[in-house]
């Protein structure tokens, strides 16, 4: 299911799922997904509730490993290397593929420590000025610096919901990942905070490859370059029914179900 002829210059594949199926025990939650993720582009995953969007997203940084009995068949490549290979370290994968969650989940630590935490893990001997500068750049990168620069020592949990979510983004980019996975990052936020995150995504994509799960059709059409449409099959496994440039998905989808879904006829 390759996208149809592209009108702009060809993009490089950062990640690629190849016939990936995800199981929880004997239950198949996602079936046979083959999906390229283009570098420095935003790929949105849409589809009705329970169709396995989050599960698929989490397969890209092995977060599903934390669920007992979860297993992935097929391949998920990062720069051509299968992240489920026998020799691959899940922790190393997650340092290159960061994640932002549905509900903002800052650590109950100071704003500074929230951002510095991951950096320190990778480099415990990092000098204070160096760390300061990474924290500042990350917070700037997440468009939060101006709001918090005077209260870096205060708790991250005291911020507003939208600020917390941007703090989580700052925390994720502080470790310089290649890819950012965002699991409905705006679903717990108000419209103004949502707009800010969407604007931020446009800046972030200059540096990072982004995948986002969203329930919000407007968000997918506004903010993403590519869109994946997923549906639940009769055996309750999620499958990918269409992948294309976002424009095409929302204007001229090939699949009738996609058309019904994006036009709000169900889901």
């Amino acid at each position: 299911m390759q996208p149809q002829k592209q009108n702009s210059k060809p993009k490089e594949q950062k990640m690629l799922a190849e016939k990936a199926s995800i199981f929880y025990g004997s239950f198949r939650a996602v079936a046979d997904v083959t999906l390229p993720v283009y570098e420095r582009q935003i790929t949105a995953i849409i589809g009705p509730s329970g169709c396995g969007k989050s599960t698929l997203l989490r397969a890209f940084n092995r977060m599903n490993d934390l669920v007992q009995g979860a297993r992935v068949d097929g391949k998920v490549l990062l720069d051509g290397e299968d992240i489920y290979g026998a020799e691959v370290d899940a922790v190393a994968v997650r340092r290159r593929v960061g994640m932002v969650f549905q509900r903002p989940n800052p650590f109950p630590k100071s704003i500074y420590d929230n951002v510095a935490y991951g950096v320190r893990l990778g480099n415990s001997r990092i000098s204070k000025p160096e760390l300061d500068s990474i924290v500042e750049q990350s917070l700037r990168g997440a468009a939060l610096w101006d709001e918090v620069k005077d209260k870096l020592k205060s708790s991250g949990t005291a911020l507003s919901g939208g600020q917390q979510q941007r703090l989580c983004i700052a925390r994720a980019i502080a470790v310089q990942p290649d890819v950012l996975l965002m699991d409905e990052p705006c679903s717990a936020l108000d419209p103004i905070a949502t707009i800010k995150i969407e604007e931020l995504m446009q800046t972030l994509k200059e540096r990072y490859t982004i995948m986002i799960v969203t329930h919000n059709m407007q968000q997918a059409s506004r903010a993403s370059d590519y869109t994946v449409m997923m549906m639940m099959r009769a055996d309750r496994a999620g499958e990918m029914i269409e992948f294309d440039e976002t424009k095409r998905i929302f204007t001229n989808p090939r699949d009738k179900r996609t058309e019904d879904y994006v036009s709000g006829r169900f889901g």
């Binding site: 290397e81 992240i83 691959v88």
Partner: protein
């Protein structure tokens, strides 16, 4: 943030510390298994040694009613019956009072009253048993003697120990029963009120039966505690096995016997030493059976409401 990121390998790293720590945690989890094995080994091996003694006829353990191992009399009944007597007395106190208190706290009490009374029960549950023993000997015994007469009530007697043991397990029965009662869904109560039942009728005829398996579990756990209770019995029930069903007589319970024998200077090769392990084994099996039984009942009510 540099524009070009250094390629970072995805190769597995050996994290030695991580593995050592995980191994340590696993060991910690395993300590509890060692504890159980230790208990079984300790009780079992010494019990076998006991039965291996030349003058011992194992069948007498349950056919004789005299316990005096150093002269070859090994009927365990006197210790068992006194244990059952004191347990029965304890339950006579603890079941009605604990259950009524549980119903009051779960069905009647306002949050304010509840928050005042619950800590009192918690304090009562935290009093060491040796203190209850003192209470039995210096308060309950004189009290019973003043009511029934000093001729009838011995200084050391099962009644005093049993009743005080009952007070001790009230908090246990109360809090477990209360949990079970509170797990009963509101709709059931509302259904009963809707039919014009009073609060008492609803509590006793609808809520209590619905929570029955949880309440039974509480009673079984209380029984297990009373059977294994040691210090109250050792202090107030008397020293010396006595096959009697008169609660005002002195009679040693299983746990009380173990404490008395092991408290002295005991010769590790004597039959006295091995005999307490056969008593301990009996006690362990009794409480283990009761604990399994209570788990069965707890799981039963969890299945229904959770």
């Amino acid at each position: 943030m540099t524009a070009s990121k250094p390629p970072r390998s995805l190769k597995k790293k050996t994290r030695l510390g991580e593995n050592v720590i995980q191994a340590f945690f696993f060991f910690c989890g395993f300590v509890s298994i060692f504890t159980t094995l230790g208990i079984v080994l300790a009780l079992g091996s010494q019990a076998l040694r006991f039965f291996g003694e030349p003058d011992i006829n194992p069948i007498e353990l349950i056919t004789s009613i005299k316990w005096s191992p150093n002269i070859g009399e090994i009927g365990i009944w006197p210790l068992v019956t006194s244990t059952l007597m004191t347990t029965l007395l304890a339950l006579l106190v603890a079941i009605p009072l604990g259950l009524a208190a549980a119903i009051y706290l779960s069905e009647y009490a306002t949050p304010k009253v509840r928050n005042t009374l619950k800590p009192i029960l918690e304090i009562l549950a935290g009093v060491p048993t040796v203190v209850y023993g003192y209470f039995a000997l210096t308060f309950m015994t004189p009290f019973l003697r003043s009511i029934f007469g000093t001729d009838i009530v011995k200084i050391y007697n099962m009644a005093s120990a049993g009743l005080v043991c009952g007070i001790m397990i009230i908090p246990l029965i109360c809090s477990m029963s209360e949990d079970a009662l509170r797990a009963v869904p509101r709709s059931l109560r509302e259904g009963s009120f809707g039919l014009g039942a009073t609060k008492l009728e609803t509590s006793l005829k609808v809520v209590l039966p619905a929570a029955l398996s949880g309440v039974i579990a509480a009673i079984v756990v209380g029984t297990s505690r009373a059977v294994g209770e040691t210090m109250i019995m050792a202090t107030a029930a008397g020293a010396g096995p006595n096959f009697t069903f008169n609660p005002f007589e002195s009679a040693e319970t299983m746990a009380g016997h173990i404490v008395r024998i092991s408290g002295g200077d005991i010769d590790y090769n004597s039959i006295d030493y091995t005999s307490i392990f056969i008593v301990g084994l009996t006690l362990f099996l009794m409480t283990l059976g009761l604990n399994f039984l209570s788990r069965y009942f707890v799981n039963k009510y969890r299945e229904v409401y959770e």
